[in-house]
C-alpha cells in the first residue's frame, strides 16, 4: 500500500455509540479525497446514510463446505466420528452435512474411504464498489445469512478499498469497524494508521472501550477518542477521561446527548447535513483534529 494514503478506522467496542453516524459525517466532509470502507459486515448500515450507487458487485467466496454424495456413501460413519463440529446428520440412514455447523475443515473428506465427500467453495457474501452521494468511493459488503468468516470478508473489503484509494490517489481511507474484539475487529485494525474510538460515559461504554483499547495497544496503533453523550453521566465522564488520560489517549471531542443524532439518521442524513449549529461545528472540528493527530 502506498503509505501516502492514511487509513483511519472508527471503532467502539460497544455497539450503538454513534460510530456509523460519525463515520458518515467524516465521509461527507472530506468528499472525493476519501474512500470509505464499511467493515461492520455483520450489520452494515453505512449505505443507509450514504446512498451509494453501485458500480461493481461480486460474490465473495471463503472457505469450503462439505457435501456428501448419497449414491457413493457406504454409511461407514467415519465422517461422523471425525467431525468435531457435529455437522454430519443422519436422517433415515442418509448421511448429509449441516451447512451451518460445517466449518469446512475437510477432515471428513480425508477420512471418507469411498470418496463420497466433496469440498466446495462456500459463498460467504457479496461485496460492492459504489459511489456515495458525497462523491467518495465506498466498498461495502453483505455477509450471507448464517455465513461464517466475517473476518475474511472484512479483509476483502479493506483490500478493495485500499486499491481504490491508491488508484484514485486520495488522502484518506476511512473504515467503519464492527463491535467487539474478535476476528472482524482484528481484521479491520491490523496495519491501520489511526483508530478513532467512539464511546459514551456509561459503565458498558467504558468497559468495552478499555477492552478494545487493549487490543489497539497490542497492535500498536495511534488512537484518539470521541466521547458521545458526554453529559449523560458527569461522574462516569470523569472516570472515562481519567482512563483516557492514564493511557495517553487524546480526547478528540465531547458531544452532548442530543436527539438530533437520531433525528438525522431517521431522515437518512448525516449530522453535518442535518444540523447547522453547534453539532455540525463539533463534528467538523473533530475531523480536523483526527487529521492533525494522524500527522503529528
Amino acid at each position: 500500500m502506498d503509505k501516502s494514503v492514511k487509513e483511519i478506522i472508527v471503532l467502539s467496542g460497544k455497539g450503538g455509540t454513534g460510530k456509523t453516524s460519525i463515520t458518515g459525517s467524516f465521509a461527507a466532509l472530506e468528499g472525493n479525497n476519501l474512500v470509505l470502507a464499511d467493515c461492520d459486515v455483520d450489520a452494515a448500515d453505512m449505505h443507509l446514510l450514504t446512498e451509494p450507487v453501485t458500480e461493481m458487485e461480486d460474490d465473495f467466496f471463503s472457505g469450503k463446505l462439505a457435501s456428501i454424495r448419497p449414491m457413493d456413501c457406504t454409511r461407514c460413519n467415519k465422517c461422523k466420528k471425525a467431525c468435531h463440529f457435529d455437522a454430519i446428520n443422519i436422517t433415515d440412514g442418509i448421511f448429509s452435512v449441516d451447512p451451518i455447523a460445517c466449518e469446512g475443515c475437510s477432515y471428513c473428506y480425508h477420512v471418507c474411504p469411498s470418496g463420497a465427500i466433496d469440498m466446495k467453495p462456500r459463498k460467504a457474501g457479496k461485496f460492492y464498489i459504489s459511489q456515495t452521494r458525497f462523491n467518495n468511493y465506498m466498498v461495502h459488503a453483505r455477509l450471507g445469512i448464517a455465513a461464517d468468516n466475517s473476518g475474511k470478508l472484512v479483509t476483502k473489503v479493506r483490500e478493495e478499498a485500499k486499491d481504490i484509494a491508491d488508484e484514485e490517489r486520495v488522502e484518506y481511507l476511512l473504515v467503519d469497524g464492527s463491535p467487539g474484539i474478535g476476528c472482524p475487529v482484528v481484521a479491520s485494525l491490523t496495519g491501520a494508521d489511526f483508530a478513532v474510538l467512539v464511546t459514551e460515559p456509561t459503565v458498558s461504554g467504558i468497559h468495552d472501550l478499555s477492552r478494545v483499547f487493549e487490543l489497539i495497544e497490542k497492535l500498536k496503533i495511534k488512537t484518539g477518542c470521541i466521547i458521545n453523550k458526554a453529559d449523560i453521566n458527569p461522574e462516569k465522564a470523569e472516570e472515562l477521561k481519567r482512563f483516557l488520560n492514564s493511557k495517553n489517549i487524546p480526547v478528540i471531542a465531547e458531544f452532548p446527548y442530543d436527539e438530533s443524532f437520531t433525528a438525522a439518521i431517521t431522515q437518512g442524513k448525516t449530522i453535518v447535513e442535518w444540523d447547522n449549529g453547534i453539532l455540525k461545528d463539533f463534528v467538523t472540528q473533530s475531523w480536523e483534529t483526527v487529521k492533525k493527530l494522524i500527522n503529528s
Binding site: L48, D148, P179, P184
Partner: protein
C-alpha cells in the same frame, strides 16, 4: 425453557433487556420454585455483569485444544500443512509452526498425522464466572482474552456450563452477541425462543431484517422488543406486522433510562413505565408458550 436475547445491530439494548428481564422475573417468582439463570454469551464484550452484584460460586479458566508440534516425532512429511484448510500450520525450513489464532480445533492435522507429531494441547481462551445473585437468580459469564479472535468455542463451552449446572426447570436467559454471523448462531441455536431487540430507526430496522432472516434460517421462533420506543419512526412496527412477528414490549425512550443505564443500575426498579414493559414482555412470552 431457554430464551435467547439477540439483535442484529449492537447497542440496541440486549444487555438492558437481559439484566432487567432476568431480575424482574426472579423478583416475580420469589418464594416459588421457579428459578432464573442469565448467561452472558457476548464473550467479546460481556456487560451484563456490570449491572449485577452477587457472590462468586465458581470460577474457571476456559481452554480449547490446538495442535502442538512434536519435533522429535515429526518426519517433515508436510501432510499436516496440506490438510489444514485454515493455514494454521506452516513449514518454515525444517520446522512446523502452529498459528493458534487461525486454528479451528478441527483435529484433522493431529489425527491424520502418521507420526502423531501434532498432539492437541490446551490453549487458554478466557475465564468463566458463576455468580449467585439471590436465592432464585444465578448468573454465568465468560470473558474472551484480548487477542483471541475466535469467540465461538468459548460461547459453546459457556452454554455447556449453564446446561450442565441448571436443569430444565430453570428459566434460562442467554444474552447473545450482536450481529448475524457465527458467534450469534452458536449462541441461539438451541434456544426455544429468540427475542430480538431493536430500535425504531432505519439502522435498527435494517439490522432487524438481517437478524430475522438469520433466525428463519435456523428455524427459530422470534418475538421482538422495541427499545428507545418514541424515537425514529414506525417502520419497525410495520415490518413486524407484515412479517407476523409479535412486538411484545416497547421500552420507552427516556433520558432518565439512559442515565440509570449509564450508572449500571436496573431501569425497571427505578422507572415504573419500564417495570410495566417487563410485565408486558413476560406476558408476551407466556402467551407464546400457550399458543
Amino acid at each position: 425453557m431457554q430464551i435467547a436475547i439477540a439483535s442484529g445491530k449492537g447497542g440496541t439494548g440486549k444487555t438492558t433487556l437481559s439484566v432487567n428481564l432476568s431480575t424482574f422475573l426472579a423478583e416475580k417468582f420469589k418464594g416459588t420454585d421457579q428459578k432464573v439463570v442469565l448467561t452472558d454469551l457476548d464473550v467479546e464484550e460481556p456487560n451484563s455483569g456490570l449491572f449485577l452484584d452477587g457472590n462468586l460460586v465458581h470460577k474457571e479458566e476456559q481452554f480449547r485444544r490446538v495442535p502442538e508440534w512434536d519435533e522429535e516425532a515429526c518426519t517433515l512429511c508436510k501432510r499436516c500443512a496440506k490438510i489444514c484448510e485454515f493455514n494454521a500450520l506452516a513449514f518454515l525450513g525444517i520446522s512446523v509452526v502452529v498459528f493458534p489464532e487461525l486454528c479451528h480445533s478441527c483435529y484433522a492435522c493431529s489425527d491424520l498425522c502418521p507420526e502423531n507429531a501434532l498432539p492437541m494441547k490446551y490453549s487458554r481462551m478466557g475465564d468463566l464466572k458463576h455468580i449467585s445473585l439471590s436465592e432464585n437468580l444465578h448468573f454465568v459469564e465468560s470473558r474472551l482474552d484480548i487477542g483471541i479472535e475466535q469467540a465461538t468455542p468459548l460461547i459453546n463451552q459457556t452454554k455447556q456450563y449453564t446446561k450442565g449446572h441448571f436443569d430444565n426447570s430453570w428459566i434460562s436467559i442467554l444474552d447473545a452477541p450482536p450481529g448475524t454471523s457465527c458467534p450469534v448462531m452458536e449462541a441461539v441455536k438451541d434456544s426455544d425462543l429468540v427475542i430480538l431487540v431493536t430500535e425504531p430507526t432505519p439502522f435498527g430496522l435494517h439490522d432487524l431484517k438481517l437478524a430475522v432472516e438469520t433466525m428463519e434460517e435456523l428455524n427459530k421462533k422470534t418475538l421482538v422488543v422495541i427499545n428507545k420506543h418514541g424515537i425514529g419512526n414506525s417502520d419497525v412496527e410495520q415490518y413486524c406486522a407484515e412479517k407476523n412477528i409479535p412486538v411484545i414490549g416497547r421500552i420507552p425512550h427516556l433520558r432518565k433510562a439512559a442515565e440509570v443505564y449509564s450508572k449500571g443500575e436496573l431501569m425497571f426498579q427505578q422507572i415504573p413505565e419500564i417495570r410495566t414493559e417487563m410485565e408486558n414482555i413476560y406476558n408476551g412470552i407466556t402467551s407464546w408458550i400457550k399458543a
